[in-house]
């Protein structure tokens, strides 16, 4: 085996090993969703079954937590998607006083430690005696997602050719028509990517949510609480289904992109 081959092959094998390492806990999770355990604990392999898929929604609180998570993620996606895109558009397109400050806030919000963000928001809510619950979770999720959306959209906006918009205006389109017919379609991939990022960040968030949830439970919070007594197999099944939905979405997205290209 010559050196070049070793380098190529070696690195390829290495890459696959790292991918396997990353996928390992997921494999464990999926496998134990098929575990034929009899009681409330799901820790040792007892044989294959599909019964947990049938009993998926048997634990009311878990179902409620999942529903909460999804609703919160959708709300976050929409609100942060719109607010973040507007900021991204402003930063990518215009030069104005205050752009630096805005950039700084974006950067600070992205690189701020989650625990600090969660804790400081809690101190605000506590000081103002705001009741914690569903809406404080939404507020916090929108808060930490806006900057991710803005940065994604800004990058997209900066790659665009401004002359298209100028052409539209020369052809008599008004500001709003130009935006709707030219700008929006062009930045839409960025908006979509940013919004999906917001959805993903929201549905998986644990730290900030834990601080600001009051007595409302989301999927990650329910799991965290349930580890005291052992996770029921339904958690594995829900995890598996979310995983599968994510994979499907991503594959569909990729296929669409290929067809368009």
């Amino acid at each position: 085996m010559n050196r070049g081959l070793l380098r190529g092959r070696g690195l390829q094998i290495y890459t696959w090993l790292v991918i396997a390492w990353l996928a390992l806990p997921i494999a464990v999770m999926i496998l134990f969703g098929f575990n034929d355990t009899h009681g409330r604990y799901n820790t040792s392999w007892q044989g294959f079954t599909l019964k947990w898929y049938g009993k998926l929604f048997e634990i009311g609180d878990l179902t409620q937590a999942l529903v909460n998570s999804i609703v919160i993620a959708v709300l976050t996606m929409v609100v942060a998607g719109v607010l973040g895109s507007l900021i991204g558009l402003a930063l990518g397109r215009y030069r104005f006083r205050g752009a630096g400050t805005t950039n700084l806030v974006m950067f600070a919000a992205i690189s701020c430690a989650e625990i600090v963000m969660g804790a400081s928001l809690l101190s605000l809510f506590v000081t103002l005696a705001v009741p914690l619950g569903f809406w404080t979770i939404v507020i916090s999720h929108v808060m930490f997602s806006i900057s991710f959306v803005a940065v994604t959209v800004r990058a997209r906006v900066m790659t665009l050719d401004r002359s298209l918009e100028e052409a539209a205006r020369d052809l008599g389109a008004g500001t709003w028509a130009t935006f709707r017919l030219v700008t929006l379609p062009m930045i839409f991939p960025g908006v979509l990517a940013g919004s999906m990022l917001a959805f993903a960040l929201s549905i998986d968030d644990f730290v900030i949510t834990n601080f600001n949830s009051g007595s409302t439970l989301t999927f990650p919070l329910w799991i965290w609480g349930a580890t005291r007594v052992g996770l029921p197999p339904q958690v594995n099944v829900m995890g598996t289904l979310i995983f599968a939905a994510g994979v499907l979405l991503a594959v569909a997205n990729a296929l669409l992109a290929r067809r368009r290209a």
Partner: protein
Amino acid sequence: MSSRLRAALTPYALIFPGGLWLAIFFVVPTVVMLSLSLQSGDVVSGYAFTFNWHSYVDGITTYHDQIVRSVIYGLAATLIQIVVGFPVAYWIAFRGGRRKSVYLFLLLLPFLVSFVLRTISWQFFLSDNGLLLGPLKSLGLLPQDFHILATSVAVVCGLAYNYLPFMVLPMYVALERIDPRLLEAAQDLYAGRTQTFLRVVLPLSLPGVFAGVLMTFVPATSDYVNASVLGGTSNTMIGNVIQNQFLVNQDYPVASALSFTLMALLLAGIYAYARVLGTEDVLEVAAR
């Protein structure tokens, strides 16, 4: 309204709603927390603003071990990620061929599973007689009392695992952007493979490494999930302490003081790091 004025106001109008949201729920809370860290009292009798610096003094003297440990764990995890992740990013960028996006997607698979669930999965997998250690022990390859859980190694590996994709992606983006003609030029100028790598590839990948470190060091240092799931008696991180002070003891002043200390530490770290590497110019180049 004149169209010029309107054009001048447009960016502000665009920024206003999101900016207001961030001002109220991100900037203001930071100030409130600063104020809270200087208050004294307890949850039954209430808290009052007293310019009480003791929360900082008490917090730091009591928990300096945990603060130092968190920084060490964060650094260790970041280093592991660079070492483990760089070859992967390199291979995908230069040898990934047409299936680059497939490889990247595979790297991101873990993010489709809840962070908490992933970490618990590791706890299950690494248990003393679990799927990994059980067979090795029964084969006699490891002593019976060998364990990974409840050690620093478990916590650091957990941190490295959870944030690895955040390290690989920016490095990949930086490497992928390197013009292959640069490498050819280097070889034409008789640079060997090692030299090409050290003099061309490595420097050009630095912005990616920088962004990667930024995106992994901060969350790793302030994490508390890994330490509580995978750690033992002496692996408590500052995140655990802050969490405990806020949500268990409700000692808001000390909790806020510790949060502020952590924030200041991380900001100072990032700033020094940017200075030492002199990344400002490099970043400008990378942004184009």
